[in-house]
Amino acid sequence: MSVIFVLIFFSVLVAAGFLIAFIWSVKSGQYNDRYTPSVRMLFEDSSEEELNKKLYNKKETSV
């Protein structure tokens, strides 16, 4: 049954890892703005022309 000591040691280690990750995320400012990044990730990096091309292509294929 002494394996429990080992198991507990590892479970605490893993949990501590997550705690550190959480603290790091707060520290690095991930909780400062909880809205904008969710929008930002939806923007395409492509320029207007490429976007238009894509839109045309879509139109054409759908027609």
Partner: protein
């Protein structure tokens, strides 16, 4: 093609492609229609740079640009001021964080983060949507701070310069996140280690028991850091000889910790660390709800953020821009259209037409003659004027008001907190029970008595109650926010529930500040006559003329026809002009009646060479139009007097219903900085009971609130301008009513969007219900405490009982608080 589709749409709805306002289709570019040139310019800028994605993300995302006035940012030419705005600056680059209130949608984010495509001088731009702040990094060789401001301005995103940039709140919330993270970690582990104890019927093997116990102690120590806020707050309270709600909580927490420590180390029990950790986690989550902040709103503004950052100094005949702080007595300055007078000064040159509405509440701009004193805070309307400063900025009339003691009062003193009241009596009650328990047990069994006393102290911790406050009030705060009523913190709700009297400011609060009701009394005017009057009144700078002009239709088709180049304005009397061979006069009664000097008018009118001034004898003194109690403007065309325009304040929609509703529960008062022209209207609106006072200065208003408070009447002040600032601060609750929540509002406890004024009765009733809910939650938690107390006094509080009782009580009270606030919000139609 997608573009064509969009065009079609905008053609049908005739909405501005940029901002979505109704437009007449006159201004167009690329087959797209715009309401104004501002929108068109913004569109063309984006079109040129291939940034029309802006219009694809959201329909009509643009802001309605204000009148283009690039001179606005001229003060940024001053290096000192420009560099003050930068958070970092070196030879090549500079970084700025700009506050842009007009940010409102996804398109805004997209455009502002793509600024580098418009101007390559921008190296990086990042937006924080919630705080409405844009972080920009620029290359100074390509774009100056001023150019950056102008670029944003031309796109409809005007940066607003905030003078006191304090970011205290964000570091506080950060700390709270840390604490919650740590508490969650400890709570999870402690629960994991405590479960075997609950489940095993025969008790754990000793070796595990000890090991788990020591680990629990290890996990409990960081929790003391998480709970440090309660220790600090109760220490502060005790130092001020004030027992607040945190005292019994801190007492309970420390007793649980020490008792458990003793039990584990001595091997007598398993300790209460499971309930201890759960309790702290709950308290912290409650705190997080309570700290809901409106980051983009500022409740603590003072006169300084109203004043300009820089002034235009005239030195040796040349204009020079200097920072406001450098302005000295005796300096000669120039103030342009729509600029604010920075210091008390004397009018030196030009036509001063000062709008003091924000300072005194007087809604009609005041005309000043050369040599008159112009007080700081007024806004010049019309052409530029030259002033000589006679008092330093810090000594102006407005600043003096700010130095009033009301502004230096500490926030805490006006709190009569229900929770703190409970905390006090609760603690006394607990100690009484402890005393009685000791009295009962000590003669029988000392050891058992001691553990019973400790158990009582553990159970007595009013944590369920302490948690219910942030949950109930935090939820209400969110509900208020949804109704465009933003409050500074949750304490405001409690004070709001306690109000006896509501004091209104008039101008801008219960009246619409930029709208007036204009009624023509007399013969009905034909369309042509309306055009004529409009063309004439357009030329006048007098506020009444502008109001009349705005209320009349202007002839779109044939503008030239109604052009009046022949007009003359008589200061304080009226305006006369010849349009389409007709002599039109607009002004005070005397002006219109008496100056029809010559009976053979039509002849004169036909001979247009004649100077109009000949028609009117200027030597006759007429009463100043503004001094007229009734704001009537008379009209004559040729020799016929057609009647007069009656100009009245326009009250906000639904105001009568709101007043009627409030009348039944509260006593009301109106303090107006204006003249008493509206007395009769207000009387019919408010009934005869309330105090209706006119010509109230800012100091008067403040004194009125003070007087009421000395009679122990708790006042809710509802105002909007700087002249209410003192009263807002002094009152038990000060709410400032604004048209746009991001516009300037004096320091206050809450900001209410003016269109939501009709919700005021519901808001007040809801706040009252909140207090009832809190009292009920308190009763609930008291019952739980009583149940726990039974176990404790009889000396049988096992860790398991505590571990069940504490979370159950907390969760049920939280559920009750949240659900009942939602129920009442629905009842009052707030959600």
């Amino acid at each position: 093609m997608p573009d064509k589709e969009l065009n079609l749409k905008s053609k049908i709805s005739q909405k501005c492609f940029h901002c979505g306002m109704e437009c007449n289709g006159k201004i167009e570019s690329n087959d797209k229609y715009f309401c104004c040139n501002g929108c068109k310019n913004a569109y063309e800028t984006l079109e040129n740079k291939n940034l029309c994605n802006y219009y694809k993300l959201e329909q009509h995302p643009g802001n309605i640009p204000k009148q283009y006035n690039f001179n606005k940012f001229r003060f940024l030419e001053n290096k000192e001021i420009a560099s003050k705005l930068c958070s970092y600056e070196d030879e090549n680059t500079a970084t700025l964080t700009l506050y842009i209130p007009s940010i409102h949608c996804t398109s805004c984010i997209w455009l502002l983060e793509n600024l580098q495509k418009i101007n390559p001088g921008v190296l990086l731009s990042r937006l924080n949507f919630n705080e409405k702040k844009l972080f920009v990094k620029i290359n100074k060789h390509f774009i100056s701070t001023k150019q950056l401001f102008e670029l944003l301005y031309s796109l409809g995103y005007e940066p607003v310069i905030e003078k006191s940039e304090e970011n205290k709140t964000s570091s506080e919330t950060k700390k709270l996140y840390y604490k919650i993270g740590i508490a969650g970690f400890c709570f999870g582990n402690i629960m994991l280690l405590s479960f075997p104890e609950y489940l095993s019927s025969s008790g754990l093997e000793n070796i595990y028991k000890e090991f788990f116990g020591y680990l629990n102690i290890l996990f409990a120590i960081p929790l003391l850091y998480c709970a440090s806020g309660y220790f600090i707050s109760s220490y502060k309270g005790l130092k001020n000889k004030n027992i607040n709600i945190d005292v019994p909580i801190a007492l309970g927490i420390s007793i649980v910790f020490l008792r458990s420590l003793y039990e584990i180390l001595s091997g007598t029990g398993a300790g209460y660390y499971d309930s201890f950790s759960g309790l702290i986690l709950f308290l912290l989550v409650g705190k997080l709800l309570q700290t809901k902040t409106y980051d983009s709103l500022n409740f603590e503004r003072n006169y300084k953020s109203y004043f300009p950052l820089a002034v235009t100094l005239i030195e040796g005949g040349r204009e020079k821009i200097i920072p406001l702080e450098k302005l000295k007595k005796g300096d000669r300055i120039t103030v342009k259209n729509n600029e604010i007078i920075p210091a008390d000064s004397i009018l030196f040159k030009g036509n001063a037409n000062i709008d003091y509405s924000f300072v005194t509440g007087e809604s009609i701009p005041a005309e000043k003659v050369l040599g008159e004193i112009i007080y700081a805070g007024g806004k010049q309307l019309g052409s530029s004027i030259e002033l000589e400063v006679i008092r330093d900025v810090s000594q102006s009339y407005l600043t003096q008001l700010w130095n009033n003691e009301a502004f230096n009062k500490t926030e805490k003193s006006k709190l009569s907190n229900f929770a703190d009241f409970i905390g006090k009596n609760f603690t006394i009650g607990v100690f009484a029970i402890v005393f009685l328990t000791a009295l009962y047990w000590f003669p029988i069994n000392f050891d058992r008595g001691l553990s019973a006393i400790i158990a009582v102290l553990i159970v007595a911790c009013p944590c369920a109650f302490a948690i219910s406050i942030p949950f109930a009030f935090g939820n209400s705060m969110k509900i208020f926010g949804r109704n465009k009523f933003y409050i500074k913190n949750i304490n405001v709700i409690e004070r709001l529930a306690d109000i006896d009297k509501i004091v209104f400011d008039k101008t801008g609060t219960i009246t619409c500040s930029n709208e007036s009701e204009v009624k023509f009394i007399g013969r009905e005017l034909s369309l042509e006559e309306k055009y004529l009057v409009n063309s004439l009144s357009k030329n006048s700078t007098h506020p009444y003329s502008r109001i009349i002009s705005n209320s009349l239709p202007c002839s779109l088709s044939s503008k030239e026809e109604y052009n009046s180049d022949q007009y003359k304005e008589y200061t304080g009397k009226g305006i006369a002009g010849i349009i389409n061979c007709k002599l039109i006069k607009l002004g005070s009664e005397e002006f219109v009646y008496n100056s029809l000097v010559r009976s053979d008018l039509p002849d004169f009118v036909s001979s247009l060479e004649l100077e109009i001034s000949d028609l009117i004898d200027e030597t006759e003194g007429y009463e100043h139009l503004q001094k007229h109690k009734n704001s009537n403007v008379f009209l004559s065309i040729n020799t016929e007097i057609l009647g007069y325009f009656e100009i009245k304040n326009k009250y906000k929609n639904h105001l009568p219903e709101v007043i009627d509703e409030l009348k039944t529960n509260y006593s009301l008062a109106v303090l107006s900085g204006d003249n008493n022209a509206e007395k009769q209207n207000l009387k019919t609106l408010f009934g005869h009971e309330p105090d209706i006072l006119f010509n109230q200065s800012a100091q008067n208003k403040l004194n009125y609130i003070k007087e009421m408070q000395s009679k122990d009447i708790k006042c809710l002040m509802i105002g909007d301008g700087l002249n209410d600032a003192g009263a807002l601060k002094q009152s038990n609750v000060g709410i400032s009513v604004v048209d746009n929540i991001n516009s300037f509002s004096p320091s206050c406890d809450g900001i209410l969007e003016s269109e939501k004024l009709q919700k005021l009765p519901a808001i007040l009733s809801f706040a009252k219900k909140n207090l009832t809910i809190l009292k009920m939650a308190f009763t609930f938690s008291l019952l739980y405490n009583a149940a726990g107390m039974y176990f404790a006094i009889s000396g049988q509080l096992s860790p398991l009982v505590a571990a069940i009782l504490m979370p159950v009580s907390s969760i049920s009270v939280v559920l009750f608080a949240t659900l009942s606030t939602n129920f009442f919000a629905k009842k009052y139609k707030l959600i």
